[in-house]
Symmetry: C2
C-alpha cells in the first residue's frame, strides 16, 4: 500500500492571501463606488526591460533553425549566463566563480529543493516574521524548526544566540516581509555563528538589487561565508522575471559538511531531478547583465524605489515606526493606535480602500504590523499615501 508523506499534515494551510482576497471582494461588492488600491502584492508590474525581451525573441528564433537549435541544456546552466553572474558578483565585492553558480527556474524552487541535500535530522532556524516557504518546505521533510525573533527592539533584524543550536539557518536580506537589511557586522555575526556550529546558512538574496546604501549585497561579502553558506538569488525582483522564471544558486566549492562537498550533492540533486532552464529564458537572463540591460533594469528599480520612498516618507510624516522603505521594495510598519494586523487591514480597506498585507500572516512577531509594497503604480502609491495621511491625521 502506497503511504503518503506524513509530514504534509504538519503544514498549516496559509489562508493569508485567500483571506485578503475574500475581504477585498466582499468590500468591493458592497461598495462598487469606492476605488480600491492594492499594495499587498509582492509581484512586479512594470514590463520586462527591452534588452531582455529582445534576447527572449532571439532565443526563440535560435530554436527555429537547425544550425542554432538547442536541445537539453546543461543542468547547471549555460556558461555565458554563469559568467555574467560571476562578473556581477565582482561588482559588489563577492568572489563567486562561474562554476559555483547553478541557473534555475527561480529562487523558490531552489529554496524548496535545497533541503534534498540535507538529512532529516537537522534543526532549522528561521527568523520570525518569515517567508513561509522556508518553514513549509522543512516541515514537509519532517525537520524541527526553531524561530529567532525579529521585532521592534532589534529593528526586525534577528541576531544569533549562542545558547541556541541550529544546524541549518535561513536568512533573507533585504528581508521579506520586513524590508530590513543586515549590515556587514550583523551578517558577520551570523557567519561566525554558523562557522562555530558547523551550521549551514541558506541565504536568500532575492532583493539584493534594491540595496542602495553600503550594505552587503551577498553573504559572500563576508569573510568565511564560502565555508558555511549557500546563496539563492533570483531575477524576479532584480529584473521583473516573476513571469519569465529564472534564478540562481551559489554553492561554493569549499563548502563541506561531514567531509562531503555540498556542491557535489547539489549538482547530483539537480542532475537527477532537474533538466535545466529554457534556452530563450537563459538568453534573457544573460541580457540582464549587459550594459544596456543593466541600465534598463536600474530604471525599473528606481521606479519601485521611489514608490518605496513615498511610503516611507509618509510613515516619517505620521511618526510611525517602520523598517524597509530603502534597500527594499517593502515597508513594514507598526499599526497605529495599537490595532492588530487584521484590525488595521479592515480599517484601511473600509475607510480609504487601500489593501496591504497583515503582518500576522508571516509569524507571531508580525502581529500588530503591516506590509505595503512598492510594486503599484506611482499614481496609486501617491494617492494611497494621501488617503492614509488624511485618515490618520484626523
Amino acid at each position: 500500500m502506497a503511504k503518503i508523506n506524513p509530514y504534509f499534515s504538519d503544514i498549516k494551510q496559509n489562508y493569508l492571501f485567500a483571506e485578503i482576497a475574500k475581504r477585498v471582494n466582499t468590500f468591493a461588492a458592497e461598495h462598487p463606488e469606492k476605488s480600491i488600491i492594492k499594495m499587498g502584492i509582492g509581484d512586479v508590474t512594470l514590463p520586462l526591460p527591452a534588452a531582455t525581451v529582445e534576447a527572449l525573441k532571439k532565443g526563440a528564433e535560435d530554436l527555429s533553425r537547425k544550425e542554432t537549435f538547442k536541445g537539453y541544456p546543461d543542468y547547471e546552466g549555460y556558461d555565458f549566463v554563469r559568467n555574467a553572474i560571476s562578473d556581477y558578483y565582482k561588482e559588489f565585492g563577492a568572489e563567486v566563480s562561474a562554476d559555483e553558480i547553478f541557473i534555475s527556474d527561480g529562487a523558490k524552487s531552489d529554496c524548496g529543493n535545497i533541503g534534498d541535500i540535507f538529512a532529516q535530522d537537522n534543526t532549522v532556524l528561521v527568523t520570525d516574521p518569515v517567508y513561509p516557504v522556508y518553514v513549509d518546505t522543512n516541515l514537509m521533510s519532517g525537520r524541527k524548526i526553531i524561530y529567532a525573533d525579529s521585532n521592534e527592539a532589534n529593528g526586525f533584524a534577528a541576531m544569533p544566540d549562542d545558547n541556541i543550536k541550529a544546524d541549518i539557518i535561513y536568512l533573507c536580506s533585504p528581508n521579506n516581509p520586513t524590508g530590513s537589511a543586515y549590515n556587514k557586522e550583523q551578517l558577520k555575526a551570523w557567519v561566525d555563528y554558523a562557522t562555530e556550529n558547523d551550521a549551514v546558512i541558506i541565504y536568500d538574496s532575492a532583493y539584493e538589487a534594491f540595496i542602495t546604501e553600503d550594505l552587503p549585497r551577498s553573504i559572500y561579502c563576508i569573510e568565511g561565508a564560502k565555508k558555511c553558506a549557500i546563496e539563492i538569488c533570483s531575477l524576479s525582483k532584480t529584473a521583473g522575471f516573476t513571469g519569465t522564471r529564472c534564478g540562481y544558486t551559489v554553492v561554493p566549492k569549499e563548502l563541506e559538511r561531514e567531509g562531503v562537498s555540498l556542491y557535489k550533492l547539489w549538482y547530483r540533486r539537480q542532475a537527477t531531478k532537474f533538466n535545466g532552464v529554457s534556452w530563450p529564458v537563459q538568453c534573457a537572463a544573460a541580457a540582464v547583465f549587459t550594459k544596456e540591460g543593466r541600465r534598463q533594469v536600474e530604471e525599473n528599480l528606481n521606479y519601485y524605489r521611489e514608490n518605496a520612498k513615498i511610503i516611507a516618507d509618509t510613515m516619517d510624516e505620521l511618526g510611525i515606526f517602520y523598517t524597509g522603505g530603502k534597500n527594499s521594495p517593502y515597508v513594514w510598519f507598526k499599526c497605529p493606535n495599537k490595532m492588530s494586523s487584521w484590525e488595521f487591514f479592515d480599517y484601511m480597506l473600509e475607510n480609504i480602500g487601500v489593501v496591504g498585507t497583515p503582518g500576522e500572516g508571516f509569524g507571531k512577531n508580525g502581529e500588530g504590523f503591516f506590509r505595503l509594497t512598492a510594486f503599484s503604480s506611482r499614481e496609486n502609491t501617491v494617492e494611497a499615501m494621501r488617503r492614509l495621511k488624511e485618515l490618520l491625521k484626523k
Copy 2:
C-alpha cells in the same frame, strides 16, 4: 552541525555517458580520418515547429508591454494550456479534466519531485532496464527499490507478479530505453495489480506521441487507472521541447491513499516548492496543440519515425532480435555474436564509426543489448545502417 542526506551515497555514479564520450573522443583522436555517426543521443535535433516559435516570440512581446505583462504564473499552469492538453487527451480516449493537469518545466522534474508526496517507507518497483531517474530519486529519499525483469522472453515488457508487493510502481511506455510499448491488456494487468495492492503507478508517457499502432497513449485509457495512477508527460519528445522545457503531470481528483487526496498533496508540493512555468514557454506549449502546431509536430515525428523504421528494417534484414523501432524513437537490439554491450560498442565504433548506447548502462537486463535512437539526421541514419549491414554480413 548540519548533517547531509545520508542516502546520496547509495546512488551509483552513472558513468555511462561519460564513458561513451571518453571512448569516442579517444577513437576520434587516434583516427581523425574516420567519420563518426552518433546515434546514442536521446535528444531531438530538428528545429521547433514554426507555430511554437511564433508563440514564444508573441509571449516575449507580451512581456514588453504593461497591458499584457505577466507576473507570477499559477502554480498549476495557465488554463488555456491545461484546456488544450485536456482536449488532446480526449482524442485518444482518456478523460482528463483540465484541473487535474499541472504544467511544469519538464517530466524529469516531476518524476524527481513526485516522491515528495510519499512517505519514505514505501517499496518502489521499477522495470529493468530502467531510466535511471526513477531509481536515483528514490534512493536519494532512502526508499527500498525492487526490480521487475524486462527481457527477451517477455519482449522487454515486464509484467506484475502477485507474489511481489510493491507500493509505488514506475512504468514507462513506450519505454526508454527498450522502445517496447504496453498494449491495453498488459497495462490493465498493472492497473489491476495496483488496485489490489493499493499501490500507486507513476506512469511516464513521455514517448506517447510516437505511438502509431492501436496501443494506449495514456494509462487513463485503462479503466480504474484514475484511482491508482499519476501520469507524467512531456513536450520534449512530442514537440522537440528538450531545450524549451515544458511538461505536464496528471493527478486525478479521485486518487486517494490513506484517505488523503494525492491531487491536494501535489498541489501543496508545487505551491510550496515551485513557481510555475515561464509565460512565453506556456504560450509555446499551447501552440503545440493548435491545428497548425499539430500538423508541424507530426511532420517532425514522422521524420524520426522513418529513421526508426530504417533502423528496425536493418535489424529485420540482419535477423537480429529487437524491440521498439515502431511506436518509439528507440531501437533496442540484441548484440550479435553474443557480444556484451560494451564489446559491441567498441566493435561498432572501431569498425564503422557508429556510436550507440550499451544496454548494460540501464540495468542488469540490459547486458548484451544495445540502444540506437532515431534522432540523427536521415542521411546519417541511412549511412550508419549501410555500414552496419556491411559489417555484420561479412
